[in-house]
Subunit: 215 residues, 2 copies
């Protein structure tokens, strides 16, 4: 039985990580229904993949099931939470106090999953000083110092495309190691920083392509 955090681990693909999140959701549902065990087949059906894929994904991190039985729902739930790093809290900064920032801020599930927004920045004087829950929007000039002071792990970037890269350049180097980018631009960052993009325009264009090609 290999450790969850074995550092000699093979590289885990992004698709595997995405599926782990989906399995987690299925397990949370199953747990809410009071189910004890679940098979790879059931996990696959509810997670939108195949049972072989489920077993392959999980096998990258260890051996969690019982042959002939399936997986213990509470145990696998715990293991995946641990694998994904959801068994702790992450310190998050929100850069950009616009509509997207507000939507994200108000989404209480993030707090529950361990993502704690500790500070909000904006460059717009009319927004600086406003209250966001317990927080007050701070001027972006204070960003570098505040990110370091607050030991921020993850920066959520919800700013217009044309200023995104310059903000990223400032953010990188304060010790921040992960960025969730909502701006529709390809950001340049060092390999040491993890980056995910949420790009609605790109997704809409993907749908446009699909509509355009299918007849």
């Amino acid at each position: 039985v290999s450790s969850l955090h074995s550092r000699a681990a093979k590289r885990i693909s992004e698709s595997t990580v995405r599926r782990l999140s989906l399995y987690l959701r299925v397990l949370q549902e199953a747990s809410a229904l009071g189910l004890d065990t679940i098979s790879s087949d059931e996990l696959a059906k509810r997670g939108g993949t195949t049972s072989a894929q489920v077993r392959k994904d999980l096998s990258l991190f260890g051996s969690f099931g019982k042959r002939g039985l399936g997986y213990s729902v509470p145990e696998l739930l715990g293991s995946i939470r641990e694998i994904l790093g959801l068994d702790r809290t992450w310190r998050v900064a929100l850069v950009g106090a616009g509509k997207i920032g507000a939507a994200l801020f108000s989404y209480r599930d993030f707090q529950k999953q361990g993502f704690h927004i500790r500070v909000v920045f904006d460059s717009d004087p009319s927004k600086i000083g406003r209250s966001w829950g317990e927080l007050v929007v701070r001027p972006d000039a204070e960003m570098e110092s505040a990110l370091a002071e607050q030991q921020i792990d993850i920066v959520v970037l919800a700013v217009p495309a044309d200023v995104a890269q310059s903000l990223v350049d400032r953010v990188v180097g304060t010790g921040v190691r992960a960025i969730l980018n909502f701006a529709p631009v390809k950001l340049r960052i060092p390999d040491s920083v993890a980056l995910r993009n949420v790009d609605m325009a790109l997704e809409l264009e993907g749908l446009s392509f699909a509509l355009n090609s299918r007849q």
Copy 2:
């Protein structure tokens, strides 16, 4: 020279489509700078990929470059817009008049790219009847009839996870052929409907995994 819309076309992967969107952005920038031509190498650097990948992607749709020279910026811009179906307008409905819906609605770039929001629905009586720009929020009971009447192409679903599937079931069958889903659930839809997901929780979990694994 093969046609852009050749129906005997090989299947195009989602990653290729995503990259086409990125190339389009690079070309829009290049065009704004007044550049005449651009090489696959330049497109690749600014789009975050390799020149071979750029050429391979484009070659799936035709032959757009000039050997020794590169690609004509305005011509390639036009071709990619055509490939992605951005040379027309799409009729969009917004289901869910919450914070995410508002953020999307206020983002003028969508209108510019040809995605026209024609109708907004919500089930919350306190939201129904409110003005959103030129539109008025309509009760979700009117959804089926309005989607058909308005000949909606794309539904943007910005509702809580627990009601997403039942709304999708109602939407599918009104002639809607594409859904952009913001709810953190795996939706079940027929193959004939195109689906893209925007899932902030999933992306944050991906960052959490990366932070957790890297030391």
